[in-house]
């Protein structure tokens, strides 16, 4: 059984203009010790999916349907109080921008300490402080700096503090939401290296949410591609890179500019649909070159192609198409 299993999860925001279906019937699983990359463009619902996994979506948003099973427990059904015990200890998050995620008026060590004291009351204060220093050392910050304030650290180091904080209560699953966005390339590489190292050392399962294809392919074993609220393709990194099946994934790969890509790059025509009023049928059909009539009416489901590992949501790969 997988450590984290998401089944048919849907989440929407109920705004004045209407219902925004940010996540629609998403299913995937995350094994123990695995790194799964979740890529997609801005506004496709990646972050909403990440927040749903922690049940942190705030009004006007909410989880409409589906299950999130962690270690056999469905956290969607849990009461708020019980959910609070699951956060940090079982599942935690590295937030998008550490610069604004840290409290500027409190020393970083105290902020980590607070999390430990609240979630692991059995640990004595002295022990907890020792743990904070240890955590900081883990992420490459001098443990004696635990009483320093956020402004005394650079962007990359603040991001490391955020990582240390996510690991404070020994979680099993970590969600990294664009943890390296906004850092310059060299710092980015260091933070990625750190996440990869910790994952290997601690046997963590990490969901890496990012729009950066190069970074995700460098560290994740599997990749999931999201478009307009739907998971459109999921599979092992190599297979996605060498043999992308969904037209959107193919478009994304051919518009990606890399150092050794020769020849002209093409972008996908059109633009990302607004989720408040998505096109009927397959959400990608207005931009798809292979679109047929059926794409305009019904939504394709994620189905395995050839083997169970590689799944794609496109009618093109279904029998009789």
């Amino acid at each position: 059984m997988s450590l984290l299993e998401v089944k048919e999860l849907s989440a929407s925001f109920y705004t004045k203009e209407g219902r925004v279906k940010a996540v629609e019937q998403v299913s995937f699983c995350l094994e123990k010790g695995e790194m799964l990359g979740l890529i997609g463009e801005s506004g496709c619902g990646k972050s909403t999916l990440g927040l749903s996994l922690l049940r942190l979506i705030e009004k006007p948003g909410r989880i409409d349907a589906g299950n999130i099973m962690i270690d056999g427990v469905d956290i969607v059904q849990l009461k708020q109080e019980a959910m609070r015990k699951v956060r940090w200890k079982t599942i935690s998050m590295i937030p998008q921008s550490a610069m604004s995620a840290l409290n500027p008026t409190a020393p970083i060590g105290k902020q980590i300490l607070e999390a430990i004291e609240l979630h692991m009351p059995e640990i004595k204060k002295q022990q907890a402080i020792k743990k904070v220093k240890e955590l900081l050392e883990w992420v490459g910050i001098d443990g004696d700096r635990w009483l320093h304030y956020p402004h005394e650290f650079s962007g990359g180091m603040k991001q490391r503090v955020a990582i240390a904080m996510a690991l404070a209560c020994d979680p099993k699953v970590v969600i990294s939401d664009e943890a390296t966005t906004g850092l310059d390339v060299l710092t980015q590489a260091q933070v990625i290296h750190l996440i990869k190292r910790l994952q290997a050392e601690l046997g963590l399962s990490i969901l890496v949410i990012s729009h950066d294809l190069a970074m995700v392919t460098a560290i994740c074993e599997r990749i999931a591609v999201m478009y307009a609220g739907h998971l459109v393709e999921i599979g092992p990194t190599q297979k996605i890179l060498c043999n992308p099946l969904h037209p959107y994934t193919r478009g994304l790969l051919s518009s990606n500019i890399s150092l050794d890509s020769d020849g002209a790059r093409t972008s996908i025509p059109g633009s990302v649909p607004r989720l408040i009023n998505p096109p009927p049928g397959c959400h990608f059909h207005p931009r798809c070159s292979q679109g047929k009539d059926i794409c305009k009416v019904s939504i394709p489901r994620l189905r395995p192609v050839k083997d169970n590992e590689h799944q794609v949501a496109c009618f093109f790969y279904e029998e009789g198409f």
């Binding site: 390339v185 060299l186 980015q188 590489a189 260091q190 290296h193 500019i257 093409t266 972008s267």
Partner: protein, 323 residues
Amino acid sequence: MSDVLFEVKDLVMAFHGNFNIFKRKRRIIYAVNKVSFTIHKGEIVGLIGESGCGKTTTARLLTRLLKETSGDVYFDGTNLCKLTDTKLRSFRKSFQMVFQDPYESINPNMRIVDIIGEPLVIHGESKDKGAMRQRVVTALESVDLTPAEDFLYRYPHQLSGGQRQRVVIARSLILKPRFIAADEPTSMLDVSVRAGILNLLLQMKERLNLTMLFITHDLSTARYMCDRIGVMYKGRLVEIGPTNQIISNPAHPYTKALVSVVKDLTEFIQERENIIKDGQVNSYTLEEGCIFQERCVQCSPHCMCVEPPLREITDKHFVACRC
């Protein structure tokens, strides 16, 4: 006739830091420090570097949106720094800028037709309303916003990010400039539409015989677009040369690190200690020696005292390092 369009000589831009009552002197930050380079006609020169290294400030100095602290900028032989504001005005038509964020660089209260037509109004080319509208339509068509009539009377919020950036490009091209400074024109856009904007800029460059300064923090994009690449670090130009040279033969340790991180992230992560040090010291205040000394793996005592000048190592490939 020389084929040099822009010549920049020892350009310096100093910003004063915040006033601090505990210090007698205000801190001075050199955003651009003794930068010299040339841009030839019909060429795309890229500027890359981390955020805050002075790329945008350089572009703003070239397009005269900022006034330099010292140094000279020659445009087709004329020293722009010595011109009065009135004289400069007639020159402004010839160089335009494409800004980074299309959500902020166009006025949300104006219709597309007014946004694109505004440069014509400012430069007194709006006498004939019909002709002006026609020029706006042509501009919209040239950036593939067709049918143009559909877009004329829309407001910016009705357009997507990619379309807005096309409007910004149309606006910058309507005066038929000879030079465009594009400041990270794709960094705020979705990945799937980025290539479209880059291809549009390349097309425009061919069609209108433009010269371009292309600013980016992404080496891959720079390689896709540029004939030559300049690398900036903390206000200095540390390396400049033909794109192929920079990518296959980087000379400055900082460029080497940038190339290796983009070439193979996995390898860079393993070899990191041999490529670059984790330096987070604020080198803007550094008084002596090479700007890169704190992060350089080859730093020698000499580097800490003497600042290396930009020197030519192979044909047209300049580097500011003793290596």
